[in-house]
Symmetry: C2
């Protein structure tokens, strides 16, 4: 459904609840057919969609010229032929992925003819809210279809024309798929409607916000529905005394400059005091060569007086830019404590050739992704081989780290009996077998 | 730590954060030694603990006589020699359970010498709050020790003397275990302190409230920390037209009377209209024989004018008593819709000999536990063979249904490299292998 099609949120609620029941047991074949139809319909409407995008770009251009949006915001909004093809490729990848639902993940024979299974199933109804990039609609819709979930989306106002064109095309494809229910994919057009759905804790199982830290925090503070995502990515690299310093330089540079605005870019580098004098000048030189501004702790600034001085705020900062903070630490405990105090539990890395140090780091840093001798930029669902990524979670419950299709499922316990009652087991007339079947 | 030992919540926060880091990598052997020491120390202090309980019982007796507490609340508070031995047996069972942490649950070779593992780890710091039963302290402490978590507990005020005696004994046992950190188990004595810890969302990873629905809902409304538990258990049985009616009667009776105050007892029985005339009188007769009050829908009351009439509130009711609501439904869809509307997503059962009906029920009812031809009372961690139960969850995220040790863990992604950077993969100089290792 589209925001303008339902008169009230009550109507939307009713319709998605019906759709949920009908869609959650759709077969893998049926869901893949729907995805194939999405590809066909998108190709058929390519020109129309790109035209809608031109309308959005025209308005955005005025905002850009007036200095009201950044060039990168303008670029994110743009949907060209290349991005369109990448979008289609994305659906093909989702078709290839294993269906995450109806998988038996554990089983126990409680007694003869009394078998218990744990079986994966869709979460149900998921709300996704994102900023300008309109290709997100296609990516999210395909993941939701594959995992058997109903989705209610809200995109950025600046991409409204493109969003509606994509929504209409996807809906046409889904409605033309034999045996599928209506209203699997739903789009909200106004901020008012989005605020209303945040109240539907009895209907919506999960909210996934994609946007700035402030936005994610705002969503968390304004709903009782569970929220999946990360509000910030303050990632660290700790260069341990037994580090291979050549590797350390390469990894620090890649982690900082390969894409400084990504959430898995490094923000603070911790250098062990033992190697500070030797390593710091080499690192700072390379950073400067790559146009990175360096802000160091007092000890660093004493060694290299021409770098900036970092204050308390820098240790909490997610620069999202070519700026890096550097701090000298005495030993692995100090490094671990700094990360656990200032970090965002996202991705943290140790550079060392010492296995014991690596193990201590991994055991004691309380983050979703812990790396030994590898760039923090590897922290990503596609690079992890999940085939798709709905986001990166810094929650500890449910899904942690990069989240693929599995994070969109839950499970049910299914018990198949022949009329057994608990009474006999309590009296000791019968005893449980408890034999693992799976 | 005990409430009276720390001057402020800040101090507690600092101490448990240190304890977390030190305890999370404790070996299975070390943790089992701690549990063995708990058994020894409890046996050594049996008399002292039972004496402390007598003090609590003395005060409770006055409240009982004054009609301020119920007989069953008084009984729950009581710790006698039998209960004490059962408590000790519980620790022995936990020692036998598999250690849930440091298990590799998934692995992927991203490239040569770049291996990614998903490994289970403790959640960190868990708050548990419970009402009168003092044996919960021992049960919860043993589960937390085995899973490598730090626990902050708050028990009922009426069990204060017993709680302190148990806490001191457990702490002595843990502190005497070679190599373990202090402050693994912590006890709050005042409601004020409990309210304060609900604010520690940056320190506490999970709150587990054990008590009435109202209490669980109150906790959910007063903290931003994730809450694991169920606020109510409105369980259903649907008697389908192709049910074996003998089995149906046995299961309905067992589900209702075997322990009417349990959360997995049945509250509403749905009977298909096709078999209503035949089945209802038999069921009602048996219920009455067992002292159960029956409240029926209009159609039921027309057939049997001497039963009570259920209104809308009855469909939402968790009686927790020998009362059952009965409703006639036309077909499986009506049954499913009733359960999804009025149920609490806890445990629901279908009685049928028809596999297709069973499958449709399982697919479409949105509950944690779905049973075919078995008593709802089987919905329990011990009966499921988990060996221990921390509670039953009606959350869909993280742990659903009965929750054992696994529900007290999360996971980390661990990536072991040799200095790899993302740059080469983006340029196409290197490509990912993505080969599943596990």
């Amino acid at each position: 459904m589209l925001s303008s099609d339902f008169e009230s949120i009550e109507k939307l609620k009713e319709e998605v609840n019906i759709a949920k029941i009908l869609f959650q047991s759709a077969s893998t074949q049926r869901k893949n057919e729907a995805l194939e139809n999405m590809i066909k319909e998108l190709e058929k409407n390519r020109k129309k969609i790109l035209k809608a995008n031109e309308l959005d770009l025209k308005s955005a251009k005025q905002l850009l010229d007036a200095g009201k949006i950044t060039k990168s915001a303008y670029n994110r909004l743009k949907l060209d032929d290349d991005k369109f093809s990448t979008m289609i490729e994305g659906i093909k990848e989702v078709i290839k992925l294993e269906d995450p639902v109806n998988k038996k993940t554990w089983a126990m024979k409680l007694d003869n003819e009394l078998d218990l299974y744990r079986q994966s199933c869709p979460l149900g109804i998921i709300g996704v809210v994102f900023e300008s990039r309109p290709d997100v609609i296609v990516q999210v819709s395909s993941l939701m279809v594959k995992s058997g979930n109903i989705v209610i989306m809200k995109g950025g106002k600046e991409a409204q024309n493109t969003n509606i064109a994509l929504y209409e095309t996807i809906t046409k494809a889904l409605n033309s798929t034999y045996g599928l229910t209506k209203n699997i994919v739903n789009l909200l057009l106004t901020r008012h409607d989005f605020h209303e759905i945040l109240k539907l804790e009895d209907t919506i199982d999960l909210i996934i916000p994609r946007g700035s830290s402030d936005f994610v925090n705002w969503v968390k503070d304004n709903t009782r529905i569970p929220v999946l995502g990360h509000s910030s990515g303050v990632c660290h690299i700790y260069v341990e005394p037994l580090a291979d310093q050549k590797k350390a330089i390469d990894i620090c540079i890649d982690s900082k400059i390969q894409n400084p605005s990504a959430c898995n870019a490094v923000e603070t580098i911790l250098i062990d005091c033992e190697i500070l004098k030797e390593f710091l000048p080499k690192l700072v030189e390379k950073m400067k060569e790559n146009g990175v501004e360096v802000r160091g702790c007092k000890m660093c600034a004493e060694l290299l007086p021409d770098i900036g001085i970092a204050d308390e705020d820098d240790w909490y900062a997610e620069y999202g830019d070519k700026i890096v903070a550097i701090k000298a630490v005495r030993g692995i405990c100090a490094a671990v404590n700094h990360i656990n105090k200032y970090g965002s539990k996202h991705t943290d890395c140790i550079i060392t050739e010492d296995k014991d140090a690596a193990q201590a780091f991994i055991n004691n840093v309380d983050s979703a992704n812990l790396f030994v001798n590898a760039s923090t930029r590897f922290s990503d669902g596609f690079r992890y081989g999940f085939g798709a990524e709905i986001g990166i979670s810094t929650n500890k419950l449910h899904a942690r780290g990069p989240v693929g299709l599995e994070g969109l499922t839950t499970y049910k316990y299914l018990l198949y009996g022949k009329g057994q009652t608990v009474h006999e087991y309590c009296l000791g007339k019968k005893t449980f077998i408890h034999e693992r079947l799976l």
